[in-house]
Amino acid sequence: MVMREPDLLQVDVWRGGSNDKGRFQTYAVPRHEAQTVLDVVTWIQRKLDPTLAYRFACRVGMCGSCAMTVNGRARWTCRTHVGKVATGNRLQIAPLANLAIVRDLVVDMREFFDKWAKAGGAFTPTASRRDDFARVAPASPARREIDAAIECIGCGVCYASCDVVAWNPSYLGPAALNRAWTLQNDVRDGARAERLAAVAGDAGCHACHTLSACTERCPKQLSPTASIAGLKRMTARAALKGEL
């Protein structure tokens, strides 16, 4: 019996820093069934070039650390099958857009998470440990809004896909605003007025043009667009009442 040689994938991988300080390098990687893009990157690093820098942790779509630009679109690489995204036998893998490149496929996520902090992304408790548990009805409208938006893993795919972030560097971005929306609906939170002021205006929810790239590309099928629309309604009501 003759063993069939595996097909080879031609993979262009971004090496180096940003723009003029880097270039694509092509690697030949054996193609396998049910192979993910992260498998491909790991194979290159382990078998061909140990100097390749990339980030991953859980490999099962929970940690949000392996997002990259695959054939021009931001994706979570651990849950992206090569068969679904390769054009013929070619694959192009680059770091996420809209963030500074540290090296190769690794981007600096500081700006992304600093904006979560700017958007009031931390929960501000109103109760002490001596208080009873807060009772939040699962079917209440506010809790349902939270349910629809809470599963964000912070991968940065939405941020890298957002044109407004590219045009307006101070824009907080879809993930930070989505996080703020969940807290604005949390009846236990004590900083909702301050957070609403933080997410209003040109750097906040009002900069969103509802292009919906974030919603289309979110690997968790969340809708930051809907969360941002919610913030727009909430800020508009507060502005009309003079509470903003």
Partner: protein
């Protein structure tokens, strides 16, 4: 500009857009009807001169344009040209005032 003022600008742009949606529709339908009906410029002026309703309608149209256009241009200039800040805001305010002045002048010309 404070986030509060920026939010008010956003609200003003949305509200003026709602007004414009109606105004543009009425304007286009009226214009097409007038042209198809074979009315001359003199016939049209004969109907608009001294007409308070048409005067009020077009004055509202002008106000909505003077609010809506500069806010939109401000956003476009900020995103595409990276032109932001106090100088830019002052310029867009001037554009709004100019649009209002020119528009009201035109309304006065056909109504008064």
């Amino acid at each position: 500009m404070s986030a509060r003022s920026q939010t008010r600008l956003w609200l003003a742009q949305r509200a003026s857009a709602a007004v414009l949606a109606v105004c543009v529709l009425v304007h286009l339908v009226t214009m097409i009807a007038a042209v198809k009906g074979g009315l001359s410029a003199a016939d049209i002026l004969g109907r608009t001169r001294g007409n308070v309703l048409w005067g009020a309608f077009y004055a509202l149209f002008v106000v909505a344009v003077a609010i809506h256009a500069p806010i939109g241009l401000r956003t476009i200039a900020s995103e595409w040209l990276r032109w932001r800040g106090r100088g830019a805001d002052a310029c867009w305010l001037a554009v709004g005032v100019a649009l209002f002045a020119l528009g009201i002048r035109a309304v006065a010309a056909v109504v008064l």
